[in-house]
């Protein structure tokens, strides 16, 4: 194919300057080099591009025509270069992170927004799932890490505390307790609870709390769909026990109250394949996610300092 980018740059300079010597000055080359490059172009194209006249050169019709397109090429090349450079600066590679709906509902968006801005060339893949499937995928080495509720541990997985958050009771706006004020579950009669299936770690934590604190539960239904659970409690007299980081104090569709006396907290842990060490990209993502999650957890934790009603 005809013409390298350097050929074209020198040609464009010569066209605009109407002089090989001036073009050489402008492009930090020598007159000889310009002459050679333009001869290359002319040979490759089979057309002369300049008429060599006294004291200057004059573009031929072919030169005029080629110039118009050559500047396009150079422009496009600069655009390509700077577009790619926009992605420079951050970490590179790919991370795959497993998250529960608990974290994807609110914490994920601001985390991703900040993270991809700082690491534009890093491919981030989020796998949403419940504790059971995330644990399995982490064991299979398909995830850099995952965030799940604290559990007894598993060989092949390393775990460390990620964030501790309140459990809150979520009901429709007409619920018999106050929004954003601590609530004692045993004070509530005829509690109808939506709970996850036994495959989910949190089901056991909820049953343990209920059983050991004299909470009177009238009915339970199992629902492993987080969006469905939220919609269901918003429209009925059913309630759910959910991690606080899923909800903002400003929610209007729900009555949300941190569960106290005793305080019911959930420890979220980070798990990763123990044979691997966390990549620095995954480490960076974990840090941002932890910041955003803690930010969401903080107001609810503060509310437990207030007296229950």
């Amino acid at each position: 194919m005809a013409g390298t980018l350097r050929d074209m740059r020198l040609f464009v300079a010569a066209y605009e300057e109407r002089s090989f010597t001036a073009a050489a000055r402008r492009e930090h080359a020598t007159q000889s080099g310009v002459s050679q490059h333009i001869r290359n172009l002319e040979d490759a194209l089979g057309v002369s591009l300049f008429a060599r006249e006294k004291g200057h050169v004059l573009p031929t019709p072919a030169g005029e025509s080629y110039y118009a397109r050559a500047v396009e090429v150079l422009r496009a090349h600069e655009a390509a270069t700077s577009a790619a450079r926009l992605h420079a600066g951050g970490l590179e590679g790919k991370i795959v992170v497993g998250l529960m709906p608990t974290l994807t509902r609110l914490a994920l968006a601001p985390t991703l927004a900040r993270f991809v801005q700082h690491h534009p060339n890093l491919v981030v893949s989020i796998v949403e799932g419940y504790s059971a499937s995330l644990t399995a995928q982490a064991l299979a080495g398909e995830l850099d890490f995952a965030i799940v509720p604290a559990f007894s541990g598993s060989p092949g997985l390393r775990s460390r505390l990620f964030v501790r958050t309140q459990e809150v009771l979520v009901s429709s706006p007409g619920a018999p307790y106050l929004h954003a004020r601590p609530v004692r579950l045993r004070d509530l009669d005829r509690l109808k609870l939506v709970v996850p299936s036994p495959a989910n770690t949190r089901r056991h934590l909820i049953e343990a709390y209920v059983g050991s604190n004299g909470v009177k539960v009238e009915r339970m239904i199992e629902l492993d769909a987080m969006l469905g659970t939220l919609d269901f409690v918003a429209r009925t007299e059913w309630s759910a026990v959910l991690p606080a980081v899923m909800l903002e104090p400003e929610e209007t569709r729900y009555t949300v109250a941190p569960i106290v006396d005793p305080t019911f907290t959930l420890d979220l842990v980070q798990i990763e394949p123990s044979r691997r060490t966390l990549s620095s990209a995954a480490e960076a993502f974990r840090t941002v996610l932890a910041q955003e999650t803690s930010r969401l957890a903080a107001p609810w934790a503060a509310l437990t300092m207030v007296d229950a009603v």
Copy 2:
């Protein structure tokens, strides 16, 4: 600056094939070469473009972004190349030709049309003028050649017959003779003639013909503007003696008749600086111009075979 065209071609191939090896096959290179070129790009851009995975490579976000622009660059480069190649094939350089209005009125357009099509990279410059100025410019070496009425010759100029054409009498449609039939000037009374100034060779030729053939001229005015002359005779009872190649038999604004008994012809000669040899480009132009001029002259010459009225 970052990235040569070859870098980009190999990158694009690798992007599309998702494989360095396949890209090398497609671009007639080696796997090693592709690897090196893409490393070059990545170093120059400061960004990794591919994530190297098992059995294939996967573009990073930067790779995706760069690809979109890189294909633009390659497209633009191909467009530039083929645009320039359109100008290949014919002669190159520049010719400057001096022509009288006699030839520019009808013969020039078809000549140029044919000529520039066959010689797209040749710059053609036409200088319009009357015999005096064209001769001067030819002598000064400013013209490759010029076409002028035959004259006595001048040192420094070489001349050869170009085309012989009829002189015709041109009047308004109401003239007292028939269009496209031979006319005898001495049969016409009260001829009012528009003639060129004495600086123009044809003035002498006309006066010589008129004087030696008993033509009765009532009045003469000098007009060195050819367009003005045509318009003037179309609107008045004045007439002009003009070379036939300026007029087509289908003219409707004029009554045009070849002058016979004796036949009045004009020899157009080609003059060129005698110190130079005619460039092949000029030679080619002369040939096309002669063809077109002869084509215009032919029907008028044929008419002189018919009896005068």
